[in-house]
Structures are given as C-alpha cells and as structure tokens.
Symmetry: C2
Subunit: 149 residues, 2 copies
Amino acid sequence: MDLLFDDTYYMKKALQEAEMAYEKGEVPIGAIVVIHDRIIARAHNLTEQLNDVTAHAEMQAITAAANFLGGKYLQDCTMYITLEPCQMCAGALYWSQISKIVYAAGDSQRGYKAMGTKLHPKTKILGGVLEKEASDLLKRFFVERRNLN
Amino acid sequence: MDLLFDDTYYMKKALQEAEMAYEKGEVPIGAIVVIHDRIIARAHNLTEQLNDVTAHAEMQAITAAANFLGGKYLQDCTMYITLEPCQMCAGALYWSQISKIVYAAGDSQRGYKAMGTKLHPKTKILGGVLEKEASDLLKRFFVERRNLN
C-alpha cells in the first residue's frame, strides 16, 4: 500500500493553500511543489494583497522551489495546483522545465489549454484531481463576492 | 517638433537596462514602463543572479510599475522591451491590461507570436524600434559566452 503520498494527498495540501487565499479575500487558488515525496514550496494567490497581477500561486511557488533547490530548473519536481494554469503560469512552468504538473479544476476561459500555451516537452500534465473540491471553493468565493457588491 | 520623448527615446532607456544585464552576465534584455511621458519602472533580466526563471525584465517592470501606481492594472502605460516578450511575459502583460507594448528585436523561437500567446484586447503592440541595436547586443552576448566555454 502506497496510498499516503499520492496525488490526492498533495492536492489536499494545495487546497489548504487555496483556503488561506480565500480567508484573505483572494481568488482561492493554491499551489505546492514536491520533490521525492517532500514539499519544498507552498503558495497561494496574493494578487489583491500585493497589488500585482504576477502574484499567482504558481509564480510564487516556482520562485520558492528554485530558492530551496539553489537552481532555477525544477527537474524531478511536481507542482500541484488547484486550478489549471493560465498563459503566464504555464509560460513560467515552461521555463522551469518542471517534470510534472497536476491540477484540480479546469479553466475553460483563461486556462493554458484554451489559450493555446505550450508546455515544455519534458513536462507531463494531469488534470481533475479533487476537481470538485477546488471548483466548489472557487464558486463559493465568487457567489459571496457577488453578494457583497 | 515633439521628437524628444518618442519611442526611440524610451527604447534607448530600455537598452541601457539591457546593457546593465549584460555587465552582470545575464542575457541582455531590458524593460521600462512609461505613463504620461514619465518613466515609472526600469528593470533588466536577473534570472541567473536570482536563480529564478520568473525574473525576466518584463515581470519585474510590471511589479514595479503596479507598486508605483498603487494598483495592479497598467492602463495608460506603455512598456518598452528590447526583445519580443515570451509566453510568460505576454501572459503577465495580458493580466495587466497594459495599453501599449513596444519591443525592439523579434524572437522567432520563443516570442509570444511564434508561441501563439494572446494579448489583452485593450493592448496595442509595435515591434522593430531599435531592432538592430537590441539584437546586436544579444548576439555579442551569446558569441562571448560561446568563447568562454
């Protein structure tokens, strides 16, 4: 049995990051980076708090993971993200040469697939892990925000 | 006569940033952000020094300009860049809703056009301003680097 450290386990950690974003009034998206069953970066969206469109969870997680590793390439790393990456984040992941990306909910409007962004040929990608949990959190955020306005 | 603060004037400022990158052993690319004839952000590529694939000149310039403006959208701003933006930077510029992008040299391999990245519908883009100066600097960098190895 090797169930503990599977994709679902790590996606739950990314969802915890998304919940931290939610509590700060940020669009609730979280990301973590794992290498050899060890979490080396955790981040959540901070675009509102930092007033910065580049402060997506994935961008911060790439910077933090590279800092931890002491090198800018994320070979042997997997990023878990609660939402399919956008053009910017997929473009950053391209430069990082990351080995694997696992995301929860798809984004048919602004996701890298709809936008036609290219991933690095070395990168594998898998979607749909804890999709419902991630998309429910996003829906709850946008419903609440609509009710506040 | 209104020649002083034209695209060539500002691109020279971006080229000065690229030269600063060159002196640090970074791929020589610079970017500045201008609003109402005022430079509000200057940056150059720092991917090697920071060990971070996200530290492109454009990304830093977006963050700096938003910080200066106190808001994350770069409406009424123009970014001058010495090289056509990549997927990541074009994706970040998309989120910023910047009004105009002017670049010098094209990038037929990794530029946003070859990669099919979408810009924001509000953004105008113009290439080829001081193209030769920017591409000569890049060529000189790569020739020197080859000779060092």
